[in-house]
């Protein structure tokens, strides 16, 4: 087996498909390193905030419209996303939905720390107490006196109109949930005492950047305090907080959020298969394939503190009763738990996350598998390589020309190799995808297609192998999967693209990752602990914070 040199790849700043004529260099982004960001909140973050404040009993749908994926990540796109009138309507509607429940008779006793003197009239003191408390979490800092006065007065005015204290309070809470201070994560700077003339992220922004990277949620109370007091700038406090965040259960949420973004898992919302062809692949199963993928990742990277690369060869998975039908194995629910750990047998053809339905089914057609899509997904999602668009004027008709007698995907795709226009790109994708052909469009194991035996052999960058296990092993040891996850997590945690100036930092992080035996929590720790993580490259006067 031949390994490519990661160092050379990184030094060149390129993602290279070693042999393919149609290989494409990843474009160098134009982002300015170290700039502050203004990120638009996404559905998961919104849900995390509401749940952390009010608990999981509050029912609402935070399925906000998808943001543009920039440099492979929605999180990077969130730094340029705008609020359309339709999106604002959604925020406003969702905010009212949440606020109405918080103040209803069922929840108010637990969620509102005080009771009004008269439920039919305004009560400034109680309103102020509640709004200051929730506002601190929503705005990731204490409300300014002006802000608190405004929202308290607004609650009073609304309460008068309704003749109901709680309805008034609900209106102010709904207003805060649609305000820009909540829906935009806005970073601010302050003069850097260690570097006269320069600026740095201020305490609250620093706390927010850490929390978003590690938990995908705004800072909790302890981190807010560290940010507001400036203690977060002290190395001992900073280290203690990073240790706490990585050790907390919320870190799992953060890991899930990152991989949801990296692996484009939002498309599962619309995944459906032909019920006649794949009766076991129900809507419930479709949703569970996504959850299964995240559970495998979370378990391996966080609970087991495993080597990131072993995700491609792990046999430790999770099954639900419905999902087990795709695996054709019996699974017994364990008490109230709907998911049970399951170890794939050593002789099972299925190994690692590439051979799970979460990867296989989403990268297939509704009624059949797709070696091309699977190969493309592996290249683009796990190796950060870009597969070019197909040329527009290609005739695929010989795919179904009866004279070809093609019964398997391999035979059909051979048609491409005869066409030089197609061959370049398909050489990049198909030899990978064909080795996953023993899993149909729903991810079920098979050995025949249309009565013909499936040949699962393949090759990756010139190295051949016999089956999906061979692919898993090769991918596991491919340097691109390591550089890719470092690159993606760097962009994710900064919510921006990378520029040439970032390459040196990326290389260092990759070295650190290797030294830490490819432990993802250690990668996260190294990422947010690097002084570069908070560096502000250039800040004009107009960007200086008002909170200096």
């Amino acid at each position: 087996m031949r390994l490519l040199s990661t160092r050379n790849l990184i030094a060149a700043g390129l993602c290279v498909v070693a042999f393919a004529g149609a290989a494409v260099e990843a474009p160098e982004p134009a982002a300015i390193p170290g700039d502050t960001t203004v990120r638009l909140i996404n559905g998961a973050q919104y849900t995390n905030v509401v749940r952390s404040l009010f608990g999981s009993d509050i029912r609402f749908s935070a399925k906000f419209p998808p943001m543009r994926r920039v440099e492979g990540l929605v999180t990077v796109g969130s730094s340029s996303a705008v609020v359309t009138p339709a999106l604002l309507d959604t925020f406003e509607q969702t905010g009212r939905q949440v606020a109405a429940q918080v103040v209803d008779e069922r929840h108010r006793t637990n969620l509102i720390p005080c009771a009004p003197k008269n439920e039919k009239a305004p009560d400034g003191q109680c309103a102020s107490e509640f709004l200051a408390k929730v506002g601190r979490t929503l705005y990731r800092r204490s409300l300014t006196s002006k802000e608190l006065e405004y929202w308290t007065a607004s609650a009073a005015s609304s309460a008068e109109q309704y003749g109901d204290f709680y309805a008034g309070l609900s209106a102010s809470l709904a207003g805060m949930l649609v305000s820009p201070q909540f829906i935009f994560f806005t970073e601010s700077t302050e003069p850097d005492p260690a570097a006269p003339g320069m600026r740095r992220l201020n305490g609250p922004s620093k706390a927010m950047r850490i929390s978003m990277a590690l938990w995908n949620t705004p800072p909790d109370e302890r981190l807010i305090v560290a940010g507001e007091t400036g203690d977060i700038h002290r190395p001992a406090v900073f280290k203690r907080e990073i240790d706490r965040l990585i050790g907390a259960p919320e870190f799992r949420l953060g890991v899930r959020a990152f991989f949801e973004d990296m692996l484009v898992l939002e498309t599962f919302d619309e995944l459906s298969k032909d019920g006649g062809l794949y009766p076991a692949f129900t809507l419930k199963v479709a949703i569970e394939t996504r959850e299964q993928l995240l559970r495998i990742i979370e378990d391996h990277l966080v609970a087991r503190k495993g080597d990131y690369r072993d995700l491609f060869t792990t046999r430790n998975i999770f099954l639900s009763q419905d999902l087990a039908a795709l695996y054709r194995v019996p699974v017994k629910a364990q008490g109230s738990l709907s998911w049970v750990p399951y170890e794939l047998p050593a002789d099972d053809a299925r190994i690692g996350i590439l051979a799970q339905p979460g990867f296989l089914a989403i990268n297939s057609h509704p009624g059949r598998s797709s070696p091309t899509r699977r190969g493309k997904a592996l290249r683009e999602l796990f190796m950060c390589q870009r597969v070019p668009d197909p040329p527009p004027n290609v005739d695929f008709s010989n795919f179904e020309d009866p004279a070809n007698g093609a019964r398997t995907a391999r035979a059909r795709l051979d048609a491409h190799s005869a066409n030089p226009v197609c061959a370049g790109c398909h050489k990049i994708t198909d030899p990978i995808g064909l080795s996953l052909e023993q899993f149909d469009g729903a991810g079920q194991f098979r050995t025949f297609e249309n009565g013909a035996a499936i040949d699962p052999s393949g090759s990756l960058d010139g190295v051949t192998y016999n089956d999906a296990k061979g692919l898993a092993s090769l991918v596991r040891n491919h340097p691109a999967v390591v550089s890719c996850v470092v690159d993606r997590f760097y962009k994710y945690s900064h919510a921006r693209g990378v520029a040439a100036a970032d390459r040196q930092v990326l290389k260092q992080l990759q070295d650190d990752f290797e030294k830490a035996s490819y432990s993802f929590p250690e990668l996260a720790r190294a990422m947010v602990s690097d002084k570069e993580f908070f560096a502000i490259a250039s800040v004009g006067d107009e960007k200086q914070t008002g909170n200096d």
Binding site: D35, T36, V38, P66, R68, R69, G77, S80, A81, V82, V83, T84, P85, A86, L87, L88, T90, E92, K146, E147, Y150, S154, S158, Q161, Y162, A171, A174, G175, V178, S179, P180, Q181, T186, S188, D269, E270, S272, D274, G275, G276, L277, A286, H365, P366, G367, R368, D389, P392, N393, V394, D395, F396, S397, F399, E400, G441, G540, E542, K543, T545
Partner: protein
């Protein structure tokens, strides 16, 4: 593009909302309040014209030229096999063929270049790049503030990503994707029946407006702490806040009577997932009915409907291939001269289009129908999808836009820029646009054949 002005003196009350939306100066009319039709039903009681609405329609994967394009150009065109389902709507529909997307050497990005160019006048340089707003957004900036929703978007494909309406790459409008969700959004608790005998301003709406107003007043604090590039984003946020406030303001006043508004009562609560043709058509037809009624009930003046995703299409139950795959893999039947299965899918798409047009044409309004006071612009992503051709992508318009457009005409574009259609429709909506489009797609020519 040229500057856009709205000059149509249609409304009894109007106010100017000035902003820099899409770089264009904008004037928005507010709806006619306390207005009723005149005796003949051709105008409002005060003599002013009925409002004109603007809609779009998108279907995937083009057409089969041989059985789609009528032989006859002009009025009373013939209906080849693929558009035979237009029999009952032909008189409402203009068919525009042989208009081109001129790429100026930019790559033809499969299932992307064509619709972006026809919708926005700009050929995209790369996938995902949409530097200029789609036509419905431009029209919406002018007339969208006059109703409860600035625009309504629906996708029969059932996927929230299936939108062909955008202000920019970062501001894509999101469609409603199920009939029940659409019903709840439009006709749910917050719907005010324009024909209700009594009207009492809702306290809730007044409170919401007041809260939003306060948010707008605090804008300067946040603006201080961000950079120039993010200023524009916050500006868009505050513009959306102001627009929502204005739409809420409208709802504090008695809505204009809408005699044709019949609030739907029987909506299928299913939220079935899937893109098989039966499911998509079920969604499509239910959402078409809701959309037409939303317009008749004055809930919006701008609306967009998507039939299927540009690069997927639908799937036939029991088949292992999507329509998209079939366009590429199915052999061209030498005897027929087209791909039979691809034709089957396109037949279903054209039936859907016919249903959509009928939904608007069957609602009476004034002396005519809702469709008479509407114009719907339809287009696909390709012409011959097998080779992703963007030359001759078929387009249609339906409706007379309040009497300024002729209908029932087949126009041969003679290979000229397809932006002529969009420019003509913006003019029909009363927008003074001297030219539209960029590069070779820039045009100042109207499709004179369909203009009264």
């Amino acid at each position: 593009m040229g500057r856009i002005y709205y000059t149509r003196p249609d409304f009894s009350r109007r106010r100017m909302l000035r902003g820099m939306l899409g770089g264009a100066a904008v004037t928005v009319g507010i709806p006619f309040l306390d207005c009723f039709l005149n005796e003949s039903g051709t105008a409002l009681a005060n003599g002013q014209a009925l409002p004109t609405r603007f809609g779009t329609y998108f279907w995937a994967l083009g057409m089969d030229e041989k059985i789609f394009i009528p032989k006859k150009v002009g009025a009373d065109y013939d209906l080849p096999e693929q558009i035979a389902s237009w029999k009952d709507i032909k008189q409402h529909v203009n068919l525009l063929t042989n208009y081109n997307v001129l790429t100026d050497g930019k790559p033809n990005l499969c299932h992307f270049t064509g619709w972006v160019a026809l919708k926005s006048g700009t050929v995209p340089a790369a996938r995902g790049m949409m530097p200029d707003p789609s036509i419905d957004v431009l029209v919406g900036d002018v007339i969208g503030g006059a109703s409860r929703f600035k625009a309504l978007d629906a996708a029969a494909s059932g996927a929230v990503r299936d939108s062909y309406s955008f202000r920019s790459s970062d501001a894509i409008n999101t469609p409603m994707v199920s009939p029940i969700g659409m019903y709840q959004s439009i006709f749910g608790d917050e719907f005010q029946d324009p024909n209700a005998p009594m009207f009492k301003p809702s306290t809730s709406i007044m409170v919401r407006k007041s809260v939003l107003s306060g948010i707008g007043e605090q804008s300067s604090e946040l603006q201080k702490s961000i950079g120039a590039s993010d200023h524009a984003r916050l500006d868009q946020y505050y513009t959306a806040i102001r627009e929502l406030e204005q739409r809420l303001e409208l709802q504090t006043q008695k809505p204009a009577a809408a005699p044709s508004c019949k609030v739907p009562t029987d909506v299928d609560p299913a939220t079935t997932v899937g893109i098989d043709t039966e499911t998509v058509q079920w969604r499509h037809n239910a959402m078409s009915d809701l959309m037409a009624m939303a317009v008749a009930c004055n809930q919006t003046r701008v609306f967009n409907m998507v039939y299927a995703n540009s690069s997927i299409g639908c799937v036939r139950k029991g088949s292992d291939r999507t329509h998209h795959l079939i366009t590429h893999e199915e052999t061209l039947d030498q005897k027929l001269g087209y791909q039979p299965t691809n034709h089957w899918f396109l037949l279903r798409a054209m039936e859907a289009w016919a249903y959509y047009v009928k939904a608007f044409a069957s609602i009476p309004e004034g002396a005519g129908t809702l469709l008479d006071n509407t114009v719907i612009f339809a287009n696909s992503c390709q012409s011959f999808a097998k080779i992703h051709s963007v030359q001759g992508i078929p387009m249609m318009t339906a409706g007379k836009a309040g009497g300024v457009l002729k209908t029932g005409i087949h126009v041969d574009g003679k290979g000229e820029a397809g932006t002529q259609v969009g420019l003509t429709l913006m003019a029909a909506m009363g927008m003074k646009v001297s030219e539209w489009g960029k590069g070779s797609m820039k045009t100042s020519r109207h499709v004179s054949e369909i203009v009264v």
